[in-house]
Subunit: 240 residues, 2 copies
Amino acid sequence: MPNPTAAMLVIGDEILSGRTRDANMHHLAQAFTKHGIDLKEVRVISDDADAIVGAINALRAAYDMVVTSGGIGPTHDDITADCVARAFGVPIDVRDDARALLQAHYDRQGSEFNQARQRMARIPDGAVLIDNPVSIAPGFSMENVHVMAGVPTVFQAMVASLLPSLTGGAPILSQSLRIERGEGEIASPLGDLAARYPELSFGSYPFQHNGVYGANIVIRGTDGAQIDHAMAELSQLFPA
Amino acid sequence: MPNPTAAMLVIGDEILSGRTRDANMHHLAQAFTKHGIDLKEVRVISDDADAIVGAINALRAAYDMVVTSGGIGPTHDDITADCVARAFGVPIDVRDDARALLQAHYDRQGSEFNQARQRMARIPDGAVLIDNPVSIAPGFSMENVHVMAGVPTVFQAMVASLLPSLTGGAPILSQSLRIERGEGEIASPLGDLAARYPELSFGSYPFQHNGVYGANIVIRGTDGAQIDHAMAELSQLFPA
């Protein structure tokens, strides 16, 4: 059975403007690869309601699951939860379970649970909360769409909360070989080898560093023994 | 006149598997912001021909221009040029101008210009070459789609080659203020301020670091005087 497929939607002007370098994509990619979920696509879009609604609906139809990051805080530019409700055509309002979590948190802190903070308790009807042990304000899952915060420490905590509930497949294994020759020299025998292992994927990632150039060849798949075989053949083709 | 819009398409299994952290998105975002081009969307997809063709056609219709990165080397997994030709419905073959560049390069190196390397001279009919001073194999522009290499040093060189030929708009300026208070405390006055400057964008980016928390407020726009005004008001609202 093939592994479940996933897409990620990163919501954030700060990445598209070059102010911030995204970190959540890389974290999710590694977590999903270990868990046996194939991350097939990532989209980064701006804080624009129509763009967010459109992307959620396109991705949830095309993949088994979608993870979003960003836009669920208390400020005016945090519009993700409302966009998810619109995408699913369900109402959204402050929900008692989320409000109770946040009320208790701000009571402990001695801070006011004001109207802006109550925005973080707005949850679309029918969604299931995702635990946030870092800063309490929850994420949520609406059917196959999992909505998480953009702050990396919070995003990572939410991924850890969610992951055990997601059905994964076989972990995707990989081995790599560094070859200090130009890609143009190895391309032909590499292509022939890849053609003989149709269930594995062979990637060639060229590098140039301090005058040394070559390529890292990465063989990926779910059958460890087959990867071992292919890697042995690869090493014979290109001895160090 | 609004700035031209752009999308980026990153082609690479290595990013979706978590093996590599993308660097080209961040570089292009910064270069475009300075040049007055609004990067509105980035998609990362795998080395899959149907996915690449579909994304190119969706993005080139939706935005003024598209930049792709990755998949134009000599190995079997380098399929971007063929996908661009398919997306535009034009033939593709080894082209004389690209072949001459590469032939001269490998002659100088004393390397064989073999069949795999000739793949890098495959250019869709009607495309214009993009200069690659780092490793010679050219990128190309097909109408509003600009096709570049994935290796960061080469990608950056191609962006530098291309940028002077792209019509930009007003550079997008920004100023930011670090406020060491919870977003929930600043959200309401910040939202009111943002509503009074509809031509500017106000972003709130929370941080938590060594027990200190707060938010960086970024004000963006093309009118520097207006940003100055808004920033002065913001500083008065939240004195250090």
